[in-house]
């Protein structure tokens, strides 16, 4: 198995690359449309604002090839901003269209719990909604989150796992072969490595 990680520019992918190496999966970093075309399992990480992230995708000319990848039934995993960009649109930098691979929008987190801080920053326990998805172990685990915006899926069935911030917030989404996680597996210590291992095995 080889994983291709899209490098959008600003973020360091050292931890992510090393995470895959630790679980015995080789990976390469890619930036060009040709590389996306030849990719098997594709990972779209992302740090930064929604607008900057989408601008990088357009600059690299990746929108069309990402759509093709998704249509071709090949696995795609978006991480954090990479997950958010899978949706139809985001509002972090004003209205910006997303990749449109999973129906829904990215909206600012709501403050429903008295002590809730925004951005949501830290370790949260993830609740599995769809037990057919076996990326998570049966016991609940905490993962590291760092986000001020959340994915609101149009279709409830695309919501695979949530965290509880006084209301359910998407932690993992999926539509056919396209998946996204709001948390950072590469920053979630053993739980994160375990997730990546299961993901690679299951897809």
């Amino acid at each position: 198995v080889e994983v291709s990680i899209i490098r959008l520019g600003i973020s360091n992918l050292g931890s992510l690359v090393e995470s895959f190496r630790r679980i015995g999966v080789s990976c390469r970093m890619i930036t060009s449309p040709q590389d996306v075309r030849s990719a098997g399992i594709l990972v779209l990480p992302g740090v930064g604002s929604f607008g900057e992230g989408m601008a990088a995708i357009h600059r690299l000319g990746l929108q069309t090839v990402l759509e093709e990848h998704a249509r071709g039934q090949k696995p795609l995993l978006g991480i954090c901003l990479g997950m958010q960009m899978l949706l139809d649109a985001g509002y972090e930098s004003g209205f910006v269209p997303g990749l449109g691979l999973v129906p829904g929008e990215v909206r600012r987190l709501e403050k429903k719990l008295p002590g809730q801080r925004i951005p949501n920053m830290g370790w949260c326990e993830v609740r599995i909604r769809n037990t057919n998805i076996r990326f998570f172990p049966p016991r609940p685990q905490a993962f590291y989150f760092l986000h001020g915006y959340e994915c609101r899926c149009k279709d409830e069935n695309n919501l695979l796992a949530t965290i509880d911030l006084g209301y359910p917030v998407a932690a993992a989404i999926g539509k056919e072969n396209v998946y996204g996680v709001q948390f950072h597996p590469e920053k979630s210590q053993d739980a994160g490595l375990d997730f990546l291992e299961r993901f690679i095995r299951e897809v």
Partner: protein, 262 residues
């Protein structure tokens, strides 16, 4: 529900001993005395083994030419550490932020430059997103009892009230505040709960309380008495961990030549 975080703070400086670019881990007392205690990446790995929640790396004596030291630490750490890393110290430009994120930081902590040019917060948040902008606020209680913000590693009294500045940095797009009491720094006498309480009540972004932890109960106090989201400590985590690294570093700091690397 979000969990409270324990954050070892790895303060670093270019070593006096080695005469090179190498960063060493240090602790400080009231921002003044500096004690060399070890190697930042090795210590970071120990903290990872001890399941720290995230790490803060602070370059205490940054200079534009000496960026290589901290970049080096981040690059090495990002290959070994699977937890979030914040880096601060001398971050003044968008290029600085970019370099730090590229080298492996997940968040950058800005301090004096934000006081000097508050728009820098807006600019950084606009480009990289609020979630990666930590504004570090160092403060001290003046003779009249006000908690005032100090710039330039505690050297310059800005006359700003801590609470006012905290509110402003939130409005400008900071995603988190690292709040450090200069008076308590390294004293191990406990956190300044009063100011922590005031600041956490005034803003909606996460606040990391720091400065003064000497007992495990000091962490508990902060979480019980204030709504701090995290506690960061440098001296505490370094001094309580009686590892050979610290012992060796202590010997070395007494001027006795000894191997510091393991």
């Amino acid at each position: 529900m979000l969990k409270k975080r324990l954050i070892p703070k790895l303060q670093m400086k270019v070593s006096r001993m080695r005469g090179g670019e190498q960063m060493v881990l240090v602790t400080t007392i009231k921002f003044d005395r500096v004690v060399e205690v070890g190697d930042p990446v090795s210590q970071a790995k120990i903290y990872q083994a001890q399941a720290a929640d995230e790490l803060i790396f602070l370059d205490l004596a940054p200079t534009a030419e000496r960026r290589r030291g901290v970049v080096d630490v981040l690059r090495k750490a990002s290959r070994e550490i699977f937890m979030p890393m914040t880096v601060g110290g001398g971050i003044k430009t968008i290029q600085d932020v970019q370099l730090m994120l590229k080298s492996g930081a997940d968040k950058v902590s800005i301090n004096s430059e934000a006081l000097h040019r508050p728009k820098f917060i807006d600019e950084t948040a606009g480009i990289f997103g609020s979630q990666c902008v930590v504004v570090s606020i160092d403060y001290s209680r003046t003779a009249d009892g006000d908690a005032r913000v100090f710039a330039d590693r505690g050297k310059r009294d800005t006359k700003l009230s801590v609470v006012d500045w905290a509110i402003e940095v939130e409005q400008r797009g900071a995603g988190e505040i690292l709040l450090t009491s200069i008076d308590r720094d390294g004293t191990q006498q406990g956190l300044d709960l009063q100011t922590t309480k005031e600041v956490t009540a005034a803003v909606r972004i996460p606040v990391i309380a720091s400065g003064g932890c000497g007992l495990a109960s000091h962490f508990v106090d902060a979480f019980v008495a204030t709504s701090a989201d995290a506690v960061a400590a440098g001296t505490f985590f370094c001094a309580k961990d009686q590892s050979p690294m610290q012992t060796r570093a202590r010997i070395m700091n007494s001027g006795i030549p000894i191997r510091l690397e393991t």
